[in-house]
């Protein structure tokens, strides 16, 4: 039975993982694009990405595109498993309480 993941459950990190989990398994998303889509600031997104990266849930790749630095982010296989487990645990709570 999957358990709730306290790292993922934080509201901003939950949004980040939901967004990254929706990409294809080989796809990466640009930092600025993700920041705009989630309505976050640079600092806020950067801090939460660091937490998720340290947990092994995301991979961050820094590169240059047309000589400008770019940061791309993707969910790792472990991150996808943890997120799916978290969603399953949330759903189980509602089922147990008869809300679903």
């Amino acid at each position: 039975m999957p358990e709730l993941d306290p790292i993922i459950h934080q509201p901003v990190r939950l949004q980040i993982m939901a967004a990254l989990n929706h990409l294809g398994s080989r796809e990466q998303v640009d930092f600025t694009f993700l920041k705009t889509k989630l309505g976050l600031t640079d600092g806020n997104l950067g801090a939460h990405l660091l937490t998720l990266e340290e947990a092994g849930y995301i991979a961050v790749q820094k590169t240059f595109v047309a000589r400008k630095p770019k940061t791309f982010v993707a969910a790792t296989a472990a991150g996808r498993r943890a997120f799916e487990g978290h969603v399953t645990a949330l759903t189980a709570i509602l089922k147990a309480k008869g809300s679903l």
Binding site: P11, L14, A19, H22, R26, Q28, D30, S99
Partner: protein, 186 residues
């Protein structure tokens, strides 16, 4: 970690909201522009061949070169926001396919006319779609297989109006798939 059902409901609602936002954003980064571009190119080539004959056929390499250039520009623009790092194995398979596509007609020396050359080039492109589908996304696999079948049916069963067949079922299928991906993708 313990949660009430209200907290769980809020968390699931937040996930759903984010998924919806990402879904529409990702749709705008799929391959629909490429499909529209190549759908228009196929229609243009088919109509040129139909109405201008050999003179129109001679323009095919230039039209395809413009298409390749357009696809490269589109790929660079779209890859700035959502990208999938290119797998070296995939590029290797593509290079091998293209190499053999050049070698086959030299070796076989089959009866060659405008229709068979177009069908052959179309089948090579569809082989690339199929390989890309195997590697990346199943819609490319099915699109490649369906258009391969349509090309073969047009060539062997409806040769008299082959160019109309390609314009409608070849170019049309690419464009409709582009619209499907843009507006109805999962």
């Amino acid at each position: 970690m313990q949660l009430t059902s209200e907290e769980a409901t809020r968390a699931l609602a937040a996930i759903q909201t984010t998924r919806e936002a990402m879904r529409s954003a990702i749709r705008a980064h799929r391959g629909h522009y490429h499909l529209w571009l190549w759908g228009v190119i196929w229609i243009a080539m088919a109509l040129l061949a139909e109405f201008r004959g050999q003179g129109g056929v001679h323009l095919f390499p230039w039209i395809c070169a413009a298409g390749f250039g357009g696809s490269m520009v589109l790929g660079c623009i779209q890859g700035r926001q959502i990208r999938a790092p290119v797998d070296k194995r995939f590029l290797g398979v593509l290079a091998a396919v293209i190499l053999f596509a050049v070698l086959w007609p030299l070796v076989l020396r089959a009866q060659v006319n405008d229709r068979t050359v177009f069908a052959y080039a179309g089948l090579v492109a569809m082989l690339c779609y199929v390989i890309a589908g195997i590697w990346f996304d199943t819609y490319l696999l099915w699109l490649g297989l369906v258009i391969t079948a349509l090309i073969l049916v047009g060539l062997f069963c409806f040769a008299a109006f082959f160019w109309w067949w390609i314009a409608i079922f070849g170019g049309g299928t690419l464009i409709i798939t582009g619209f499907y991906i843009r507006y109805c993708w999962r």
